[in-house]
């Protein structure tokens, strides 16, 4: 189809875009080993000394613990609510069914500042003090759609005859769910949970408005960069945060064959369709 020259030009373009996408990530990983407290290039030398230093910083530990707690609870809520919504939308026909898939996408499709500001006004209005739980509420709200998308995609690809066969063989609703439906869904649930956790673990914009005085790990990073303080520790934290956000995604991509991981395109497609 394409001439050899076009192919060559396309290849060069792809290589340049890949370089653009990956060089910053590689560079930031290298800075974790910087011997100097001044963040300049080239690095004067390589060291591991900041790793124990960072690990022993009580502020970093506290932020890490808060991030993990918030991520786990938000993921648990998203798993329950997201799969309940996807079962309902998949299995039953009811009034307003189409609206649901639109509403669950909103927290991801609207700019984060709106979700953050809206929740902040909501908590203020109801006299709720900002705490771990307000962070969890914010995170769960935008994580639900991740689980929902993964589970409903799997449900749509699962043949209903499997469930009918189970029923025909005398298995009741719960037995069928336990022995047929759930095993079929398990990898979609794991993928959804991993992605929801990764999203929660990394979120800054909504969290700024829902966290009060406490710092999650990304908020701690933001604060430290802003003040230009403890940058060697920031480098180490960033090194691990990149790992922790990338690893779950690669696992999830394997579990779902790539389908559920595109977060944006899935949501954009749906939002666009609903907008008609």
């Amino acid at each position: 189809m394409e001439t050899a020259l076009t192919r060559l030009a396309l290849r060069i373009w792809v290589a340049l875009v890949l370089a653009f996408l990956f060089i910053p990530i590689l560079i930031i990983m290298l800075y974790a080993f910087n011997t100097s407290t001044i963040q300049s290039w080239p690095l004067p030398g390589f060291t591991f000394k900041w790793f124990p230093e960072t690990w022993n910083d009580p502020e970093v530990r506290e932020a890490l613990l808060l991030s993990i707690k918030a991520g786990l609870i938000a993921t648990a809520i998203a798993l329950v609510l997201g799969s309940a919504a996807s079962f309902a939308v998949h299995r039953f026909r009811f009034f307003g069914r189409e609206v649901i898939s639109f509403v669950v996408v909103l927290p991801l499709a609207l700019p984060g500042i709106i979700t953050g500001m809206a929740l902040n006004s909501f908590f203020r209005f109801n006299g709720i003090n900002l705490s771990l739980w307000t962070i969890v509420i914010g995170h769960a709200t935008f994580c639900i759609v991740i689980v929902y998308n993964n589970v409903i995609a799997r449900l749509r690809r699962t043949s209903p005859s499997l469930i009918e066969a189970s029923m025909d063989l005398g298995a009741h609703g719960w037995t069928t769910f336990r022995t047929v439906t759930f095993p079929l869904l398990s990898t979609a649930l794991v993928a959804g949970a991993l992605l929801a956790f990764a999203l929660s673990f990394d979120e800054v914009i909504v969290t700024t408005f829902t966290s009060g005085a406490q710092n999650t790990l990304p908020l701690w990073i933001f604060g430290a960069i802003r003040l230009g303080q403890r940058l060697p520790e920031v480098n180490v934290v960033v090194f691990f945060v990149v790992l922790f956000t990338v690893v779950p995604v690669t696992i999830a991509a394997r579990l779902t064959g790539g389908g559920g991981v595109t977060r944006a395109s899935a949501a954009a497609g749906r939002a666009a369709k609903e907008g008609e």
Partner: protein, 276 residues
């Protein structure tokens, strides 16, 4: 009955927390603060919106935010089209999978880490100036400029554009391109008349995200933008924190919602959704 049982918890979450929050955000925008006590007064008025329209600074900030969102969207579309075309129609099956993962990794890699990476690249003695010096192009001052912001935003949201464009291009049947060639269209004509129109729905889907995410950001302007590069988000953030004018912050947060609404409406008018 079972549908209600499944649906009530997620629906209650969205109605009583998320939609309620958006409702309260809207209401708060029409309140005001007492200028002496800085307490919120629940008195209906249009003062916040009047300030937004009449104050030249806020108008400039709104325009700057929209302009940047448009520029970033355009840049990402230009970067993504050849890349996605190669991915969808030239690359071998294995290369296709590899490229897919290569786009997913930066999509999910920690947001704050990627912004920070660019901060270090742009500093006076960072990677960029070191490389420019090596090839004899001399140092540039990019840190804390609007150009820096443009590069970082384009970088951050590029994967959000590539994926839907790729999906759109992959769906084009080979026969369309063959037909175009048979009818005598040379390479570029096929690109302009067949490929680009069919890629448009993907570009629109991606643009919803590049546009919306830029519109709602305040971390990137804060960290890599200089003085005088405030976004809508920065004013909202400032008014929740230091300045303490929640009603005004709420009013300004409504602006991106309205812009996104108009944007989606405009995209629909273009007829871009019909093709999805």
């Amino acid at each position: 009955m079972r549908a209600a049982l499944l649906l009530t918890p997620p629906l209650a979450w969205f109605v009583f927390i998320y939609l309620a929050s958006l409702g309260i955000l809207l209401i708060t925008a029409f309140w005001r603060i007492n200028s002496f006590t800085t307490n919120i007064e629940r008195v209906w008025n249009l003062g916040n919106f009047r300030t937004l329209f009449e104050n030249a600074t806020y108008r400039a900030i709104t325009l700057r935010t929209i302009r940047m969102a448009a520029l970033v969207t355009l840049t990402d579309a230009l970067l993504a089209l050849p890349f996605a075309y190669y991915m969808a129609r030239v690359a071998s099956r294995r290369a296709q999978t590899a490229l897919f993962v290569a786009v997913l990794v930066p999509l999910w890699a920690s947001y704050i880490a990627r912004v920070y990476a660019w901060l270090l690249i742009f500093t006076n003695d960072g990677v960029l100036n070191w490389s420019l010096d090596k090839i004899g192009l001399g140092p540039v001052t990019l840190a804390y400029t609007n150009t820096a912001m443009w590069i970082v935003f384009s970088y951050l949201w590029l994967p959000f554009m590539i994926l839907p464009v790729y999906t759109a291009l992959e769906r084009i049947p080979d026969s369309y391109l063959e037909a175009s060639a048979d009818l005598g269209a040379r390479g570029w004509r096929t690109v302009a008349r067949v490929i680009l129109p069919l890629a448009l729905p993907g570009v629109v889907a991606g643009s919803i995200f590049t546009f919306s995410l830029t519109l709602g950001d305040f971390i990137t302007p804060f960290l890599v933008g200089g003085a005088g590069s405030s976004f809508i988000g920065n004013v909202v953030y400032g008014n929740v924190g230091v300045a303490g004018n929640i009603p005004f912050a709420a009013a300004f947060a409504i602006v991106p919602v309205v812009i996104m609404g108009l944007y989606l409406l405009g995209a629909k008018r273009l007829g871009a959704f019909e093709a999805m």
